[in-house]
Amino acid sequence: MAKIKGAIVVDIEKCKGCEVCVISCPTHVISMTKDVNGKGYHYAYMENPDSCTGCTNCAIVCPDGVISVYKIKVDA
Protein backbone atom coordinates (compact mmCIF):
# COMPACT_ATOMS: atom_id res chain seq x y z
CA MET A 1 0.00 0.00 0.00
CA ALA A 2 1.32 3.36 -0.92
CA LYS A 3 1.90 5.63 1.99
CA ILE A 4 2.19 9.39 2.05
CA LYS A 5 5.02 10.89 4.02
CA GLY A 6 5.37 14.58 4.66
CA ALA A 7 7.76 17.04 6.22
CA ILE A 8 7.72 20.72 7.05
CA VAL A 9 10.39 23.38 7.00
CA VAL A 10 9.95 26.35 9.34
CA ASP A 11 11.53 29.72 8.63
CA ILE A 12 12.91 29.98 12.16
CA GLU A 13 13.70 33.68 12.23
CA LYS A 14 10.22 34.65 11.02
CA CYS A 15 8.23 32.32 13.30
CA LYS A 16 6.51 34.22 16.11
CA GLY A 17 5.55 31.15 18.15
CA CYS A 18 1.80 31.77 18.12
CA GLU A 19 1.07 27.99 18.29
CA VAL A 20 -1.87 28.16 15.87
CA CYS A 21 -0.17 25.44 13.79
CA VAL A 22 0.13 23.17 16.84
CA ILE A 23 -3.62 22.78 17.33
CA SER A 24 -4.27 22.72 13.57
CA CYS A 25 -2.14 19.61 13.00
CA PRO A 26 -4.41 16.54 12.85
CA THR A 27 -1.55 14.13 13.62
CA HIS A 28 0.10 16.19 16.41
CA VAL A 29 3.42 16.54 14.65
CA ILE A 30 4.29 20.10 15.60
CA SER A 31 5.31 21.57 18.91
CA MET A 32 7.38 24.51 20.10
CA THR A 33 11.10 24.34 20.79
CA LYS A 34 12.65 25.23 24.13
CA ASP A 35 15.14 27.39 22.23
CA VAL A 36 14.24 30.87 21.05
CA ASN A 37 14.96 32.61 17.77
CA GLY A 38 16.54 36.01 17.29
CA LYS A 39 13.32 37.77 18.26
CA GLY A 40 12.96 35.74 21.45
CA TYR A 41 10.08 33.55 20.30
CA HIS A 42 9.89 29.77 20.73
CA TYR A 43 9.55 28.47 17.19
CA ALA A 44 7.68 25.53 15.69
CA TYR A 45 9.42 22.26 14.84
CA MET A 46 8.46 18.68 14.00
CA GLU A 47 8.34 16.74 17.24
CA ASN A 48 6.99 13.55 15.61
CA PRO A 49 8.26 13.77 12.03
CA ASP A 50 7.11 10.21 11.28
CA SER A 51 3.44 11.13 11.69
CA CYS A 52 3.47 14.00 9.19
CA THR A 53 1.21 13.40 6.19
CA GLY A 54 1.93 16.65 4.37
CA CYS A 55 -1.69 17.82 4.61
CA THR A 56 -0.60 21.53 4.59
CA ASN A 57 -3.05 22.45 7.38
CA CYS A 58 -0.29 24.06 9.45
CA ALA A 59 1.03 26.04 6.51
CA ILE A 60 -2.28 27.50 5.37
CA VAL A 61 -3.26 28.55 8.88
CA CYS A 62 0.13 30.08 9.74
CA PRO A 63 -0.40 33.85 9.97
CA ASP A 64 3.20 34.57 9.04
CA GLY A 65 3.48 32.06 6.21
CA VAL A 66 6.69 30.58 7.61
CA ILE A 67 5.91 26.91 6.94
CA SER A 68 6.76 25.08 3.70
CA VAL A 69 5.37 21.58 3.24
CA TYR A 70 6.98 18.70 1.33
CA LYS A 71 5.26 15.45 0.49
CA ILE A 72 6.37 12.13 -1.01
CA LYS A 73 4.64 8.86 -1.86
CA VAL A 74 6.40 5.72 -0.65
CA ASP A 75 5.53 2.16 -1.66
CA ALA A 76 5.30 -0.06 1.37
Binding site: K3, K5, G6, A7, V9, E13, K14, K16, G17, C18, E19, V20, V22, I23, S24, Y41, M46, P49, G54, T56, N57, A59, I60, V61, C62, P63, D64, G65, V66, I67, S68, V69, Y70, K71, I72, V74, D75, A76
Partner: protein, 260 residues
Protein backbone atom coordinates in the same frame (compact mmCIF):
# COMPACT_ATOMS: atom_id res chain seq x y z
CA UNK B 1 13.87 1.41 1.47
CA UNK B 2 11.27 3.34 3.42
CA UNK B 3 13.05 2.47 6.65
CA UNK B 4 15.94 4.64 5.63
CA UNK B 5 13.69 7.48 4.42
CA UNK B 6 14.61 10.48 6.52
CA UNK B 7 13.20 13.96 6.65
CA UNK B 8 16.12 15.08 4.49
CA UNK B 9 14.97 12.75 1.70
CA UNK B 10 11.50 14.29 1.74
CA UNK B 11 12.66 17.90 1.77
CA UNK B 12 13.60 18.29 -1.88
CA UNK B 13 12.37 20.97 -4.30
CA UNK B 14 10.42 18.42 -6.39
CA UNK B 15 8.37 17.35 -3.36
CA UNK B 16 7.28 20.86 -2.38
CA UNK B 17 3.49 21.06 -2.04
CA UNK B 18 3.03 24.37 -0.27
CA UNK B 19 5.07 27.43 0.54
CA UNK B 20 4.40 31.12 0.98
CA UNK B 21 3.43 32.81 -2.28
CA UNK B 22 6.08 34.91 -4.00
CA UNK B 23 3.70 37.86 -4.02
CA UNK B 24 4.24 38.28 -0.29
CA UNK B 25 7.57 40.05 0.17
CA UNK B 26 10.26 38.68 2.44
CA UNK B 27 9.67 41.49 4.94
CA UNK B 28 8.61 39.87 8.23
CA UNK B 29 4.96 40.72 8.90
CA UNK B 30 4.65 43.38 11.58
CA UNK B 31 1.40 41.95 12.98
CA UNK B 32 1.25 40.45 16.47
CA UNK B 33 1.86 36.69 16.79
CA UNK B 34 -1.28 34.77 15.81
CA UNK B 35 -3.10 37.72 14.22
CA UNK B 36 -5.51 36.87 11.41
CA UNK B 37 -4.27 39.82 9.36
CA UNK B 38 -1.22 37.85 8.25
CA UNK B 39 -3.37 34.99 6.96
CA UNK B 40 -5.73 37.40 5.23
CA UNK B 41 -2.82 39.20 3.53
CA UNK B 42 -1.48 35.89 2.31
CA UNK B 43 -4.87 34.72 1.01
CA UNK B 44 -5.36 37.88 -1.07
CA UNK B 45 -1.86 37.49 -2.52
CA UNK B 46 -2.36 33.77 -3.22
CA UNK B 47 -5.55 34.51 -5.13
CA UNK B 48 -3.84 37.22 -7.20
CA UNK B 49 -0.90 34.88 -7.82
CA UNK B 50 -3.17 32.03 -8.95
CA UNK B 51 -5.16 34.32 -11.23
CA UNK B 52 -1.89 35.68 -12.69
CA UNK B 53 -2.95 39.32 -12.36
CA UNK B 54 -0.04 40.72 -10.37
CA UNK B 55 0.65 43.49 -12.89
CA UNK B 56 -3.03 44.38 -13.29
CA UNK B 57 -3.95 44.71 -9.63
CA UNK B 58 -3.99 47.85 -7.52
CA UNK B 59 -4.48 47.53 -3.79
CA UNK B 60 -5.53 50.32 -1.47
CA UNK B 61 -4.77 50.21 2.23
CA UNK B 62 -5.93 52.97 4.57
CA UNK B 63 -5.03 53.51 8.23
CA UNK B 64 -5.01 50.91 10.99
CA UNK B 65 -3.16 47.62 11.30
CA UNK B 66 -3.75 47.27 7.56
CA UNK B 67 -1.66 50.37 6.88
CA UNK B 68 1.60 48.51 6.35
CA UNK B 69 0.17 46.13 3.74
CA UNK B 70 2.26 47.83 1.03
CA UNK B 71 5.37 46.49 2.77
CA UNK B 72 4.14 42.91 2.42
CA UNK B 73 2.11 42.82 -0.78
CA UNK B 74 4.31 42.80 -3.86
CA UNK B 75 1.82 44.62 -6.09
CA UNK B 76 0.98 48.26 -6.78
CA UNK B 77 -0.42 49.77 -3.61
CA UNK B 78 -1.87 53.15 -2.69
CA UNK B 79 -2.04 54.44 0.84
CA UNK B 80 -5.32 56.25 1.53
CA UNK B 81 -6.38 58.61 4.30
CA UNK B 82 -8.20 57.05 7.26
CA UNK B 83 -11.44 55.47 6.03
CA UNK B 84 -11.16 56.83 2.49
CA UNK B 85 -10.01 53.69 0.72
CA UNK B 86 -13.35 53.04 -1.09
CA UNK B 87 -13.27 56.63 -2.43
CA UNK B 88 -9.69 56.21 -3.71
CA UNK B 89 -10.60 52.80 -5.14
CA UNK B 90 -13.57 54.38 -6.95
CA UNK B 91 -11.25 56.88 -8.63
CA UNK B 92 -8.66 54.25 -9.58
CA UNK B 93 -11.30 51.91 -10.99
CA UNK B 94 -12.94 54.67 -13.04
CA UNK B 95 -9.58 55.74 -14.50
CA UNK B 96 -8.45 52.13 -15.13
CA UNK B 97 -11.67 50.14 -15.63
CA UNK B 98 -9.75 47.03 -16.71
CA UNK B 99 -7.53 46.83 -13.63
CA UNK B 100 -8.42 44.80 -10.56
CA UNK B 101 -8.86 47.12 -7.60
CA UNK B 102 -9.29 46.05 -4.01
CA UNK B 103 -9.24 47.75 -0.63
CA UNK B 104 -7.98 46.12 2.53
CA UNK B 105 -9.53 47.70 5.60
CA UNK B 106 -10.08 47.08 9.28
CA UNK B 107 -13.24 47.65 11.29
CA UNK B 108 -12.11 50.89 12.96
CA UNK B 109 -11.46 52.22 9.48
CA UNK B 110 -14.32 50.86 7.40
CA UNK B 111 -17.09 50.87 10.01
CA UNK B 112 -16.21 54.04 11.94
CA UNK B 113 -14.44 56.93 10.22
CA UNK B 114 -15.05 55.50 6.75
CA UNK B 115 -18.72 54.56 7.11
CA UNK B 116 -19.91 57.16 4.62
CA UNK B 117 -17.29 56.24 1.99
CA UNK B 118 -18.09 52.56 2.43
CA UNK B 119 -21.84 52.91 2.19
CA UNK B 120 -21.75 55.28 -0.78
CA UNK B 121 -19.20 53.20 -2.70
CA UNK B 122 -21.42 50.16 -2.09
CA UNK B 123 -24.53 52.09 -3.07
CA UNK B 124 -22.97 53.36 -6.30
CA UNK B 125 -22.07 49.78 -7.13
CA UNK B 126 -18.43 50.43 -7.97
CA UNK B 127 -16.76 47.37 -9.50
CA UNK B 128 -14.23 46.96 -6.73
CA UNK B 129 -13.55 44.41 -4.01
CA UNK B 130 -13.52 45.35 -0.34
CA UNK B 131 -11.72 43.04 2.08
CA UNK B 132 -12.87 43.94 5.57
CA UNK B 133 -11.06 42.55 8.62
CA UNK B 134 -13.36 42.69 11.65
CA UNK B 135 -11.74 42.10 15.04
CA UNK B 136 -14.12 44.19 17.13
CA UNK B 137 -11.46 46.56 18.40
CA UNK B 138 -9.00 49.26 17.37
CA UNK B 139 -5.94 47.02 17.39
CA UNK B 140 -3.12 49.32 16.30
CA UNK B 141 -3.81 52.21 18.66
CA UNK B 142 -4.11 50.14 21.82
CA UNK B 143 -7.41 48.27 21.94
CA UNK B 144 -10.00 51.04 22.08
CA UNK B 145 -13.71 50.34 21.57
CA UNK B 146 -14.74 50.14 17.93
CA UNK B 147 -18.28 50.29 16.45
CA UNK B 148 -18.07 46.50 16.09
CA UNK B 149 -17.14 45.82 19.75
CA UNK B 150 -19.57 43.29 21.25
CA UNK B 151 -21.98 44.22 24.09
CA UNK B 152 -20.23 43.83 27.48
CA UNK B 153 -16.88 43.26 25.75
CA UNK B 154 -14.02 45.03 27.51
CA UNK B 155 -11.76 47.46 25.69
CA UNK B 156 -9.39 50.14 26.91
CA UNK B 157 -12.02 52.88 26.48
CA UNK B 158 -14.82 50.76 27.99
CA UNK B 159 -13.00 48.95 30.82
CA UNK B 160 -16.28 47.74 32.36
CA UNK B 161 -17.55 46.35 29.08
CA UNK B 162 -19.53 48.00 26.29
CA UNK B 163 -22.79 49.32 27.74
CA UNK B 164 -25.32 49.35 24.90
CA UNK B 165 -27.47 51.91 26.76
CA UNK B 166 -24.75 54.52 26.48
CA UNK B 167 -22.48 53.30 23.69
CA UNK B 168 -24.95 51.78 21.29
CA UNK B 169 -25.08 48.39 19.66
CA UNK B 170 -22.41 46.70 17.51
CA UNK B 171 -22.61 47.89 13.92
CA UNK B 172 -23.22 45.01 11.52
CA UNK B 173 -21.99 46.87 8.49
CA UNK B 174 -21.83 43.76 6.32
CA UNK B 175 -25.55 43.10 6.70
CA UNK B 176 -26.09 46.81 6.13
CA UNK B 177 -24.29 46.95 2.78
CA UNK B 178 -25.96 43.69 1.68
CA UNK B 179 -29.25 45.65 1.64
CA UNK B 180 -27.92 48.06 -0.96
CA UNK B 181 -28.65 47.34 -4.63
CA UNK B 182 -25.06 48.24 -5.62
CA UNK B 183 -23.45 45.24 -3.94
CA UNK B 184 -23.19 42.05 -5.99
CA UNK B 185 -21.59 39.59 -3.57
CA UNK B 186 -21.43 39.95 0.22
CA UNK B 187 -19.97 37.28 2.47
CA UNK B 188 -18.52 36.79 5.94
CA UNK B 189 -15.62 34.42 6.56
CA UNK B 190 -12.93 33.65 9.15
CA UNK B 191 -9.30 32.53 9.02
CA UNK B 192 -8.73 30.80 12.36
CA UNK B 193 -8.81 27.13 11.25
CA UNK B 194 -7.57 25.37 8.09
CA UNK B 195 -11.17 24.73 6.96
CA UNK B 196 -12.12 28.38 7.45
CA UNK B 197 -9.02 29.51 5.58
CA UNK B 198 -9.88 27.32 2.57
CA UNK B 199 -13.42 28.73 2.48
CA UNK B 200 -12.22 32.31 2.90
CA UNK B 201 -9.80 31.87 0.01
CA UNK B 202 -12.61 30.71 -2.28
CA UNK B 203 -14.69 33.72 -1.23
CA UNK B 204 -11.85 36.16 -1.92
CA UNK B 205 -11.23 34.57 -5.31
CA UNK B 206 -14.90 34.89 -6.23
CA UNK B 207 -14.94 38.51 -5.03
CA UNK B 208 -11.97 39.44 -7.23
CA UNK B 209 -13.23 37.46 -10.24
CA UNK B 210 -16.57 39.32 -9.96
CA UNK B 211 -14.82 42.51 -11.08
CA UNK B 212 -14.71 41.11 -14.61
CA UNK B 213 -18.51 40.92 -14.70
CA UNK B 214 -18.96 44.63 -13.86
CA UNK B 215 -22.10 43.92 -11.89
CA UNK B 216 -21.26 45.75 -8.68
CA UNK B 217 -19.21 45.72 -5.54
CA UNK B 218 -17.97 42.55 -3.84
CA UNK B 219 -17.58 42.70 -0.09
CA UNK B 220 -15.71 40.08 1.96
CA UNK B 221 -15.74 40.42 5.74
CA UNK B 222 -13.17 38.34 7.61
CA UNK B 223 -13.89 37.98 11.33
CA UNK B 224 -10.48 37.86 12.94
CA UNK B 225 -8.93 37.74 16.36
CA UNK B 226 -6.98 40.55 18.01
CA UNK B 227 -5.19 38.61 20.71
CA UNK B 228 -3.16 41.62 21.87
CA UNK B 229 -6.23 43.84 22.12
CA UNK B 230 -8.33 41.14 23.72
CA UNK B 231 -5.45 40.24 26.11
CA UNK B 232 -5.46 36.51 25.32
CA UNK B 233 -3.12 33.96 23.78
CA UNK B 234 -3.70 33.40 20.03
CA UNK B 235 -5.40 30.03 20.50
CA UNK B 236 -7.54 31.29 23.39
CA UNK B 237 -8.59 34.30 21.35
CA UNK B 238 -9.58 32.07 18.43
CA UNK B 239 -11.72 30.01 20.81
CA UNK B 240 -13.22 33.15 22.34
CA UNK B 241 -13.95 34.40 18.83
CA UNK B 242 -15.85 31.19 18.01
CA UNK B 243 -17.88 31.41 21.20
CA UNK B 244 -18.62 35.14 21.27
CA UNK B 245 -18.00 36.77 17.88
CA UNK B 246 -19.65 34.13 15.68
CA UNK B 247 -23.13 34.33 17.32
CA UNK B 248 -23.10 38.10 16.70
CA UNK B 249 -21.39 37.86 13.30
CA UNK B 250 -22.57 34.56 11.76
CA UNK B 251 -20.40 32.97 9.08
CA UNK B 252 -21.52 32.46 5.51
CA UNK B 253 -22.69 34.21 2.37
CA UNK B 254 -25.09 37.08 3.01
CA UNK B 255 -25.79 38.09 -0.57
CA UNK B 256 -25.10 35.76 -3.45
CA UNK B 257 -25.75 36.63 -7.09
CA UNK B 258 -28.88 34.82 -8.20
CA UNK B 259 -27.42 33.40 -11.43
CA UNK B 260 -24.64 31.39 -9.74
Amino acid sequence: MQDTLTTKDIIKPENLVYSKTKLLTDTPLSYCPGCGHGTANRLVMEVIDEMGIQSQTIGIAPVGCSVLAYNFMNIDMIQAAHGRAPAVATAVKRVFPDKYVFTYQGDGDLAAIGTSETIHACNRGENITIVFINNGIYGMTGGQMAPTTLPNMKASTCPYGRDVEIMGHPLKITELVAQLPGTYYVTRQAVHTPAAVRKAKKAIRKAIENQKLKKGLSFVEIVSNCNSGWKMTPNDSNKWMEENMFPEYPMGDIKVPSEI
